[in-house]
Subunit: 528 residues, 2 copies
């Protein structure tokens, strides 16, 4: 039985990469990288060319994917901030329909232990675990920042493959031997050119793909929703053979230099460049040229495993009844603008690849097309829920299902701008700028022409994305653009007003209970 042409899909495969920059795939125009398997997804579905994340930082961005809510609404504003146990996630929405959100890989959900304590709920209870895990059931959870803990089988797996170590991740997966045979760490950028000691068949990406395939096979014709969440091409930047030097001699592309900027750098940008070691390192061309090939190799590796996945899905007949989402939590500066890593609001950080394959006949017309309208990561959850035939809780969800676009319907009121947020309170930039923890928020509004960035306590930034797509001319103080800035701030204000703050009662109940006192019979308010 297949679901093609049916109203609902049966399964969802929600693939996320970590820190995969939008333009580092061949289907998005990369001139060196060849990613035929991800390109294959784009051929089967829709490639979104203007997809933005709600924050260019793991936790806030992921929590927006998982809740369908903007960062200001879910509150997990940065990587150390727990997701409140009251936030409804993919897993909560599925739970109501008897489904579960299965995880293989990374979520970066920071457990809200205080939230759980508040209700006297044991962290080891099934309900407690559900909320601490952000609503996911964990096939194998591995956030990839440290040696795999008990929630992942990766360390045991490596040992079983013969990697004899109490910490095979450190020693093999992100460990290498230098030219003198000395053990060196993938934590240090200088070692990025060495091959990891792990065999490609046993890498983090390979392992997690194996887990996903086992799960899909085992489910057979039972419906499933799987979040396959790769920790690559995120650091530590070390790839197994042959990926480690596949692009060593390749063109690693241009670097957008801060020297090209026409005005003094914005204070927050400047603080990032001064205070953060990643920016200091990536501010050097040598470093950038040294690490980009590894980053590319790690992407190539992901692509190869997407190929394995697709081959197996096809063999199992799952391509016919499975909605596939391929995305990233944010991009990577890779030295552009004198920055490393992510955060802030350059296209390198906030723009991501997003490909959606809808197996239904109703989506046939859009297969292989590229979509230029703005979409946001909050759209992914409503898209998945609607495809599964589940109701959309419109008092909570702030994104829009992409179904009309996927099915080629005319939509007259699609969004014409996107928003992203930043909280740099946990960064040294805050200390350098002498800001309090509550004074470090910033917002981006980007439409087809302008990118406006509002900072608390500092001047705004403004870029003309048509005439200056590289974002090197900051018009944030140019008197000529005062009206543009005003209009963009106004859009930001309107957007802030539209946030969904009434979360304890749904909209249908609001409609049903409008002037509800009249139905009580006895109550008479203001009646003569």
């Amino acid at each position: 039985m297949t679901m093609v042409g049916q109203e609902r899909v049966r399964n969802v495969l929600f693939i996320m990469c970590d820190q995969l920059r939008w333009d580092y795939l061949s289907c998005y125009g990369h001139r060196v990288l060849d990613t035929p398997n991800i390109d294959g997804l784009a051929k089967r579905g829709v490639r979104f060319d203007a997809a933005y994340v709600q924050s260019a930082c793991c936790v806030p961005s992921r929590m927006s994917y998982y809740t369908g809510r903007y960062v200001s609404s879910h509150g997990a504003t940065w990587n150390y901030v727990p997701l409140s146990v009251v936030q409804n996630t993919l897993g909560d929405f599925l739970k109501g329909a008897g489904l579960e959100a299965m995880l293989a890989g990374k979520t970066h959900v920071i457990p809200d232990k205080l939230g759980l304590q508040r209700f006297g709920l044991d962290a080891d209870s099934s309900l407690g675990r559900h909320y601490l895990q952000g609503g996911f059931s964990e096939l194998d959870r591995y956030d990839g920042h440290s040696s795999p803990g008990s929630e992942s089988g990766y360390a045991d797996y490596l040992r079983a493959q013969g990697y004899d170590s109490p910490d095979p991740w450190t020693d093999y997966a992100i460990g290498a031997l230098d030219d003198n045979g000395q053990a060196v760490s993938g934590w240090l950028l200088r070692n990025a050119h060495f091959p990891a000691r792990v065999d490609r068949r046993h890498s983090e990406t390979a392992y997690m793909t194996d887990r996903a395939l086992e799960y899909i096979r085992a489910k057979g014709d039972q419906p499933w929703v799987l979040h396959l969440s790769y920790i690559k091409p995120h650091w530590p930047l070390m790839a197994p053979k042959p990926y480690h030097d596949m692009y060593r001699d390749a063109d690693t592309g241009p670097i957008i230099s801060p020297a090209a900027e026409t005005t003094a750098p914005h204070p927050v940008l400047q603080a990032y460049r001064q205070a953060h070691e990643d920016c200091i390192s990536y501010g050097k061309e040598d470093v950038v040229r040294h690490v980009r090939p590894t980053y590319m190799g790690l992407i190539k590796e992901v692509d190869d495993h997407i190929g394995r996945l697709m081959t197996e899905l096809e063999a199992l007949g799952r391509l016919d009844d499975t909605l596939i989402v391929f995305c990233s939590d944010h991009g990577d500066q890779l030295g552009d603008h004198g920055l490393g890593e992510k955060e802030l609001f350059y296209e390198q950080a906030v723009r991501v690849p997003l490909i959606v394959v809808d197996p239904r006949k109703s989506a046939d017309a859009t297969r292989g097309t590229a979509e230029s309208r703005f979409v946001e990561s909050v759209d992914v959850l409503p898209t998945m829920l609607e495809a599964l035939g589940l109701p959309l809780s419109d008092h909570l969800l702030e994104g829009r299902s992409l179904r009309p676009i996927l099915q080629g319907e005319q939509v007259d009121d699609w969004r014409d701008c996107v928003f992203s947020e930043l909280d740099y309170a946990f960064r040294d930039a805050r200390v350098l700028l002498n800001r309090k923890p509550d004074e470090c928020y910033a917002w981006m509004v980007r439409d087809s022409r302008w990118k406006y960035i509002h900072y608390q306590g500092f001047r705004p930034q403004l870029f003309d994305m048509r005439d200056d797509p590289q974002e090197i001319r900051d018009l944030g103080e140019d008197p000529q653009y005062e009206e543009v800035r005003r209009c963009m701030k106004d859009r930001l204000a309107d957007w802030l007003m539209e946030r969904k703050r009434r979360t304890t009662i749904d909209n249908a109940t609001v409609e049903r209970t409008t002037e509800g006192w009249k139905n009580l019979g006895f109550m008479k308010i203001g009646v003569w």
Copy 2:
């Protein structure tokens, strides 16, 4: 032992009236009403002459008092909206210090039963009750909208006093006999001039004052925090003898007529006037002249009981160690602007009386003074907590402790404007205006000169509070004031940005964990 001159107060008496308009007390300048006991509070403390509520509606306003957070932050936007179980209230903050927030009267907390179910917590468990009751321990809870339920002893009390009825509240407390001896209801405004059948010694106000006094006496020298929350002068508008006709022949003051308005009414205002029965009734001068005397009588009754309270507190020695707050949840239009009841943003609705008596020697200099700076209801909770010597959770609390003002300190950065919010989704106005439940928010920004009101989907309103204190000239569309409106909307935008959204981690932890990965030892981000 007394606490005078000590650093902390021992007790807090947090008195709230319901729907008490700011100018209906003699200390606030009412020309007919004589409220010597409330005036006496003002003589002992500070009378705040520019105190505003965060919403002119019971639930959202009260939840702001109880959480110290604006309506957009606590989310209980209207009277039917549950307060999320994760919102920290007075009771939660006290709980951490081994104290409890005791309630005598009304809170209007709508229990978040779904929130509790989410954590598998039994509504009958002690923790479950704590959250469903908004963190209060209930000496006697009585919201005053219907016959007292099991959480109040009032019905039993009335029966014990000889009011023989299955529903003595309906039959006696808000019931009267008309001129023909027929039973009539206080629900109907037309009956407002009849005396309630309850004796003044047994009225709702008398009963709840008795409960408070019993509690205070029983506590002796033990510290306590008591929320004595009167349901009067809120409807049903029926007062016992002699209050029912004390002001029957008095001057009931001017009525600000919509006829005086210089522009067509704002669409939302117009919808209120057209769709809501209270506005239709109060739009008639006869009705207003008929009910105002009863409203005044009910206030006089409250004042008499405040007198009893004060006499007893003095006798018990509690005036020396008790912080007293006297306030209201919102005002009452009483026919002004062609409106009944509350909501929207006229001074009649959003401005309230607020008197704070700080017993400490450090507050001696301000006793009997009037304070003209802007204060908001979110300031009350931090004021109480600080007086008790408790820490202020600055990642949650959005108000400021009034202590510096009470103690006559110079404050250079006090707020220069106030904010209030409205959600009219549950009102017939929404239906008349054909709005969806999520499109009915409005915000007020009021500074010393201007009151700006922003509505979703409609033009704004603007009043010049200096030249037009009666708010009859709506400058919301006047081209001459475009720049003023722009500035005020900008302030609203900045305020929206400042909302405290990062609630799962406190600011001290943010400071402590800034760049916390560096302390992990093994982790090296962006290090060459």
